[in-house]
Each structure stands twice: as C-alpha cells, then as structure tokens.
C-alpha cells in the first residue's frame, strides 16, 4: 500500500502547488432567448430604420437619389406599376416560365438519372457527357438558346430546364448508386423481374434524393427564366428590370426586384410544402 501511495501523494502535491487564484471557476455560458415578439419587433425596427435613413439621406443629398432612388419614389412607382403598368402580365410570364422549366427540368432530369440503373455500360458511356454539361456554365449558352427558341416563353423555359436538368440527373444517379445491393439481392431472391425491382425498389429509394433537389431547382429555374428575359424578351420581371436599368428608372428596378423576391419566396414556400408532403409519403 505504502509503495503505491507514494507516487500518488507526489502527484497531489504537484497539483496543489499550482496557484489556485490563476484559474477562476468558469461557468457554462448561458444565452437567454428573447420572446418571439421581441425578435419580430427588432426585425421590423431595423427595416424601418433602413428605409427611414435611406429616405432622409436622399432628401438631405447624402445618398445620390439618381443612382439609388428613394423609398417614396419607389412606393409611387410601385403603385403606378400595378395600376397602369404591366405588373400582372410580367409576373405571370416569369412565373409560368419558371414553373414550366422547374417541372420539366426536374422530371426529365430525375428520369434520366433513374435510367442509369438499367445498364452499367450505358451509365459509364453517358457519364462523362453529363459531368461536362454540369461543369459548363449553362448561362453562357443562354444567347444561343434564345436564338434557337426565339423571343417567346419557350426560350425562357429552355434556359430554366438547362439549369435544373443536370443537377436532378446527378442527384438521382447518386441515389441510384446508393441503393443497397443486398436490397436488389432480396428482390431477385423473391424471383422479381428487372422492372419489378425498378418500380418497387429503385424508384422509391431514389425519391428522397429527388425531393432533396426540389428547393435548389426552384431557385435555379427562376434564375434561368430571368436571365432569358434579360437577354431578349417582350415580357417578364427580368425584362422590366433590364429595361428600367437601361433607361435609368431606378425606382422601377427596385419595384421589380421587390416583386421578384416576393414571387421567389412564395414559390420557395410552396416547394417546401410539397417537399414535406412528399417526405411524409415516403416515411423517411
């Protein structure tokens, strides 16, 4: 006992020799949560402050009203845009091209991704092309797409498809590759056909992967539609922004950006809702 005790006591004294005052007891940092209304009130307060400073700055000549416009002018333009302007035509044009691009691009891309399950050789042959297309900045193709598909809505949809297609393909293909080979084994041991394995195992397994790109794709589809409108279009919020910018109607730029953001938020919320519904269906 004594022999064992000796080094322990030595250690103790070494510890005790350290000056106690050098290391004050530290408490777990605690963060107090604000009530919900306080958060909201602060957020609204900040927004009002920014708008007020902007307006006052523009009136006092600190902010250049020609380049930045000012909230009162923007509000006036907003009113005119909706009462006398093409607001609803533009919103509907941008909305339709985004949704069509989103639906077609996501569906076709996912089906293409699923198709790789059918043949390893086919997947191996096609894959480099997909990766090249993925790496390519698709927006660089936009002028060409406009030339081919014309000034109407088709070219905007085509650009939105170009942006959403590949990411759906690659994500779905990742889902296909993640399928447990033992799952396939189980199906085949039950005497399943290729088609049964595809329908009852492969497609449902990939569904969560497909769902996971929906939110990204709605943003991409919107970007595609807007860029198409920038380049050449007769309608759409993108065209409004581009046109207002080139004629120095900065207030109208702000109005269109605001409307566009609202549209984006609404579509994003809708897709999030769709996602939660689908996820409930897949139970994962």
């Amino acid at each position: 006992m004594a022999v064992q005790d000796a080094p322990r006591t030595a250690g103790m004294t070494a510890l005790q020799r350290a000056p106690a005052a050098a290391k004050p007891a530290r408490r777990l940092p605690v963060q107090k949560d604000w009530p919900f209304w306080a958060i909201i009130a602060t957020q609204v307060g900040i927004l009002i402050a920014i708008i007020a400073l902007w307006e006052l700055g523009a009136r006092a000549g600190i902010v250049d009203g020609f380049f930045w416009s000012q909230p009162s002018a923007i509000a006036r333009t907003f009113y005119i845009f909706f009462t006398e302007g093409d607001a609803w035509t533009d919103i509907s044009f941008t909305f339709r091209s985004t949704i069509m691009g989103f639906v077609i691009g996501t569906t076709a891309g996912s089906l293409f991704g699923l198709s790789f399950w059918w043949s390893r050789n086919y997947a191996a042959v096609v894959q480099p092309y997909i990766i090249c297309f993925e790496a390519m900045p698709k927006l660089a193709l936009a002028p060409l797409i406009i030339l081919v598909f014309g000034l109407g809505i088709v070219s905007k949809v085509a650009i939105a498809i170009a942006l959403t297609f590949v990411i759906s393909t690659l994500t779905t293909y990742a889902g296909v590759k993640a399928i447990d080979p033992d799952g396939e084994k189980l199906f085949y041991s039950l005497g399943a056909s290729r088609w049964q394995v595809f329908r009852k195992l492969v497609a449902p397994s990939c569904l969560p992967w497909i769902i996971s790109v929906l939110r990204v794709n709605i943003g991409l589809a919107l970007t595609g539609a807007i860029v198409g409108e920038f380049i050449s279009s007769q309608h759409g919020l993108g065209r409004t922004i581009f046109y207002a910018g080139s004629t120095y109607e900065i207030a109208l730029v702000w109005v269109a950006v605001f409307v566009l953001s609202t549209l984006a938020v609404i579509m994003y919320a809708a897709v999030s809702w769709l996602e939660s519904v689908l996820r409930k269906g897949t139970k994962q």
Binding site: D180, D182, G183, K185, L186, F187, Y188, S189, L190, G191, A192, Q196, K200, L201, P204, L207, G281, T282, K283, Q284
Partner: protein, 259 residues
C-alpha cells in the same frame, strides 16, 4: 426422408490478379425435407457463397443445385432467402413489407394482406401491422423479415445469421420464436451462424465448415429430442457436440468471431 436440396459437387472459384481463388471446394451436401440444418464456420468459409448459389443469385463454377431432384442451378425465386440485414423497405408498413414476396409473385394485394394479417398477429407483430419499420426494435424487424421470407411460399428457406446483430436476451427469445414457426410451418431450413450453441440448440444436423477453400469438415447429427429446453445446453450430450464443434473450428483456422 427424401432429399429436398442437393448440392451436387458444387464449387466456386474466382479469377483474381494473383490467379484463381477457390472460394468453395467442390462439395456435396444433401438436405432432407423438413429438416433444420445449420452451417457453422468461420468467416470466409463460403457459407454466404453457398447461400447465393442455392438462391440462384450466383452461378457456381462447378456442379449443380438440385431442388426436389430438379436442376435449379441459377434460377431465382425457388427458395426463401433471408439476408443478414432485415432489408425492410422504409416506405412500406410492416404488413406491406411482409407481403413483398407474394406481391412479386403476382398475388393480388388484398389476398396477400388477408393472408399475412393473422400470421403477423399470431407471431408477435400484433399492433405493428400498420407501422413503418423505423419504429420497430431490432428484434421486431427481424421477425418481420423472417415472416416475409416464410410468406414467400417456398419449401426451403435460407437464413443467413438472422440473429447475429441482436443482443443476447433478444437472441434467445428469437430462437424460441423461430422454433415455434418452424414446427408450425414445417419448412426445410438452412441456417448459417457463427454461434455454435445456437446451431446445436436449433438444428437436426450441423455441417461444420472450414476455410481455404471453403469445405465441409464434418457433419454432426443432433439427436437431442424436441422440444428442447434451455437447460438442454447443460446436458452432457449437448456439451459433447459443442466440444466437437469447437475443436473442429479452432483447428480449422481463425478463431470464431463474435457475430
């Protein structure tokens, strides 16, 4: 008793960069109808390869698989095969998972469900029928997977370490449960395990396997009368068999691993 499954000079070899690798030496194995037969052996003795061959998921390089005297080499859907993992589909309820085999065989869903429901209730899954697998415990998931295998109406079922991942307590319960199922359904069962005691407790016959290449070292009949009690594991005849198995396994190479 008639032979249900006959592995006739079955052998398996793979081409590797260092030449041919022999996974299974040509071996002969006869499994009689209605018997519970275990394959026990260390990792890499070719148990899973044999299962894949019997299930038609792998083509043997030599020999034939005869089921009821008929050549079934390389044909799928002839035997029920339960893999180590439960492989329950997370987007289907327990009931719809269990009927997967019947569904694939083209049986109408309603009929399949009607057939499965009473069995789920009888064999300890009552109350879980309409739940999704993610809310089931490991033991319950194995039960569902086993019922799925049984409901795929084949005379032969292959069980590849079904209880390997369960805790000791659950494992014992599952063994009892399996015995009940087996005596109710009277299927021919081929069971793979690492656990010698489990094999002896459950089986009519044990084939002890060795590695490099995979082969059957010895076939040991278990003549202990049924139904067997837990205390059977302490009886002299049980211990003699256990000792024989252990010595065969330890002589054959790498020690037994925990499953």
């Amino acid at each position: 008793m008639p032979v249900k499954v006959h592995l006739e000079r079955i052998g398996m070899a793979f081409a590797t960069p260092n030449g041919m690798f022999r996974a299974v030496a040509p071996l002969d194995l006869r499994i009689e109808t209605g018997r519970f037969v275990s394959l026990v052996g260390p990792s890499g003795c070719g148990k899973s390869t044999l299962f894949n061959i019997i299930a038609g998921l792998m083509q043997p390089t030599e020999g034939r698989v005869l089921i009821d005297g008929e050549d079934a080499t390389g044909t799928i859907g002839r035997v029920g095969y339960m893999l180590q993992k439960d492989l329950l589909l997370p987007w289907r309820t327990v009931l719809d998972n269990v009927i997967l085999g019947m569904e694939i065989q083209g049986k109408p869903l309603n009929e399949a469900r009607e057939r499965a429901l009473p069995l789920l209730r009888k064999y300890g899954l009552s109350g879980f029928e309409y739940l999704y697998p993610n809310s089931l415990s490991g033991g319950m998931r194995q039960r569902a997977a086993l019922l799925r295998t049984l409901l795929f109406d084949t005379d032969v079922i292959l069980l590849d370490e079904p209880f390997g991942a369960l805790d000791a307590q659950t494992k014992l319960q599952m063994q009892e449960w399996l015995m009940q199922l087996w005596s109710d359904f009277r299927k021919t069962v081929v069971f793979v395990t690492h656990d010698v005691e489990e094999a002896i407790y459950l089986s009519d016959e044990i084939h002890v396997m060795g590695t490099r290449p995979g082969r059957i070292l010895e076939t040991i009949p278990i003549a202990i009368s049924r139904p067997r009690l837990r205390t059977t594991a302490l009886s002299p005849e049980f211990l003699v068999i256990k000792e024989r198995c252990m010595s065969l396994l330890s002589a054959s190479g790498p020690a037994l691993e925990a499953a």
